[in-house]
């Protein structure tokens, strides 16, 4: 989908090249993460793809076409572009921001309006509430969602994302990363993603391109980079504890165990005891009438008499199947228990991750290498 051949960029005033003889092939539907320390040329590389920066030499193909043969304005309208939250136009409403490229492409009004609503829904913002708001009325995370929606407005096959989640706090960043991966599964865009955060790269990338001083150091899948770093530079970049980082590669949905049996809050504890005995389990989930997770019961809890609601223990936090095992581990550590509950978007329990699950995941990977 995107091909860079012998691409070099030399800035007038600097000594060495910002990007030197770079070859990169990004397949359709892949997320290619460019990662490296600041000044490594990752942002320059990305901006050459939509011709915000012109390469000194070499050729870049997008969808088989040499981008130098395309009018840069035309080219950019077919490549979505997300930068840190400062990129939203502060004097325009959220709807106007998202409509930027469709307006430039002169879409009919109705089509634009429908598309704006569709995109707002896709990124999890209620169109009726947010359509007419200004960027300053939104939180950092919400602005970032709008930024992503704006880039996807004209449904471009390619997205360029320059540290899109860089300005967010770690919790929001994790949430948005997961959400973005969920969306990407649906839309299957070809994405070039720039970050300086190797953990984000491992989590988001189908492939990671590690850059240093304008050169490509290693270009491979996250698994291969973790298992076989090409040089000391890569090892240092990845940092300590590669095993734990591998947890970033695995989704909870792939590894979780079956959810324990559930019992309604209003049920008497006798029923809980019966369930535990019948299924031979040592854990029960307590759920609301509509099936949403409310808490859990251990065999000791179930021994007391009364209603489930009186004896159950609260669950402060749960995770969704598209979170990573690393997220699961953090939750476990925060929660102080050896397990974490997995719920779907509606809050209904769908599975369970235990320490055993994590051990198995890490062990499995070690055996492969």
């Amino acid at each position: 989908m995107i091909k860079l051949e012998h691409v070099t960029k030399v800035y007038k005033k600097s000594e060495g090249p910002a990007v030197a003889d770079l070859n990169l092939h990004i397949g359709k539907g892949e997320v290619c993460v460019l990662v490296g320390p600041s000044g490594c040329g990752k942002t320059t590389t990305m901006k050459m793809i939509n011709r915000l920066i012109e390469p000194t030499s070499g050729t870049i193909f997008v969808d088989g076409q040499n981008i130098m043969d395309v009018n840069p304005i035309e080219l950019r309208r077919n490549i979505g572009y997300v930068i840190q939250e400062i990129g939203l136009f502060p004097h325009m409403t959220i709807a106007e921001n998202i409509a930027t490229v469709p307006l430039e492409k002169k879409w009919p009004r109705d089509k634009i309006r429908a598309r704006v609503d569709e995109l707002l829904q896709l990124v999890g913002l209620d169109p009726n509430i947010y359509r007419q708001r200004k960027p300053r009325d939104l939180s950092g995370g919400q602005r970032q969602r709008v930024g992503v929606a704006r880039a996807m407005a004209a449904d471009p096959p390619v997205l360029l994302m320059d540290e899109p989640f860089g300005a967010l706090d770690p919790i929001n960043r994790g949430k948005l990363q997961n959400e973005f991966l969920r969306i990407q599964k649906k839309i299957q865009k070809t994405i070039v993603f720039v970050t300086h955060d190797i953990d984000e790269a491992i989590k988001m990338g189908t492939k990671i391109a590690i850059m240093r001083q304008g050169k490509l150091v290693q270009y491979d899948t996250p698994e291969n980079i973790l298992n076989a770093p090409a040089s000391n530079f890569v090892i240092n970049l990845i940092g300590g504890n590669r095993t734990i980082k591998q947890l970033n590669l695995i989704r909870v949905g792939e590894m979780m165990k079956e959810a324990p049996p559930v019992v309604e809050l209003s049920a008497p504890t006798v029923k809980a005891r019966e369930l535990l005995a019948a299924r031979g389990k040592d854990l029960l989930f307590a759920v609301e009438k509509d099936g949403r997770l409310a808490g859990y019961l251990s065999p000791q809890n179930a021994r007391e008499e009364g209603q489930v609601a009186d004896v159950m223990q609260e669950i402060p936090n749960s995770i969704t199947p598209d979170a990573t095992l690393n997220d699961a581990l953090s939750e476990m550590l925060a929660f102080g228990k050896g397990f974490v509950c997995v719920v779907d978007e509606g809050g209904k329990p769908v599975g369970l991750v235990t320490l055993g699950t994590l051990m198995k995941a890490v062990g499995g990977n070690d055996n492969n290498s």
Binding site: K47, N78, T100
Partner: protein, 242 residues
């Protein structure tokens, strides 16, 4: 409907108040002349003519200044002209420190007395704050926002009109406000170079030692300045409030 009317009423309150004060003062001084000399100088058509001339000087020179300084300021931020900016902005800054009376005197000695000289000097002097604010306003737009617009495929012209200009408008308007208020004051001084206006009343009164003539001119000029400041301030607030 009633709320918009109320808004309009509250918006017009200050201008009306200023107009009423101006009228009352004029009527009082005109209908109570202290002697024959005052009676001859202070007549309604005369006072009105001075006022109209004053407003004419201010509006003409301000419009010319806006029409030239805003495009020039924009041009200074464009590729190809950007290298001129430091020099020009420096000249503008020095020009702004020169007192208006010196500017008027300077051009009088070069171009002679008259309305044309006054309009020229007023135009040149009020050009400076608008030019400077247009330049700094557009330069001050966050480069990230501009890059986002370019990166999404907006042609340079559209980036200017849809992104840079609206975002710089507040600063540009502040420059226009400064320019117009300065213009009202400088137009008062342009009486010295024979361009007429309310300054005529002030100096006529001073040279004839008739204080009511001076006060009529002075009060009207002051009210006009306050009105201009208020008016543009309101335009600023209402145009840019969202």
């Amino acid at each position: 409907m009633t709320t918009t009317l109320k808004k309009l009423a509250s918006w017009l309150l200050v201008p009306l108040l200023l107009a009423v004060i101006g009228t009352l003062v004029t009527v009082y001084f005109v209908s109570n002349p202290t002697d024959g000399i005052v009676a001859r100088q202070l007549q309604y058509p005369k006072v009105l003519a001075y006022l109209v001339r004053h407003v004419f000087l201010v509006i003409l020179s301000s419009l010319l200044a806006i029409l030239t300084a805003v495009p020039a300021g924009i041009l200074l931020t464009r590729k190809g002209f950007r290298f001129l900016a430091p020099v020009i902005i420096n000249i503008v800054n020095i020009g702004q420190t020169i007192p208006s009376i010196a500017i008027l005197a300077l051009f009088m000695s070069i171009l002679g007395l008259g309305v044309r000289t006054a309009v020229f000097a007023l135009w040149l002097y009020s050009l400076l704050p608008i030019l400077r604010n247009t330049y700094t306003g557009i330069q001050g737009v966050n480069p990230g926002i501009i890059e986002a617009a370019r990166g999404m495929g907006m042609p340079p012209q559209r980036v200017l009109w849809r992104i840079e200009f609206p975002l710089a408008l507040r600063v540009i308007m502040a420059g226009i406000r400064t320019a117009v208020v300065i213009n009202v004051g400088t137009a008062t001084l342009s009486t010295f170079i024979g361009a007429g206006g309310l300054g005529d009343l002030i100096i006529t009164g001073l040279s004839l030692s008739r204080i009511t003539i001076t006060l009529t001119g002075g009060i009207l000029a002051a009210l006009l300045a306050i009105l201009a400041d208020y008016f543009i301030g309101q335009v600023e607030i209402h145009l840019l409030a969202e």
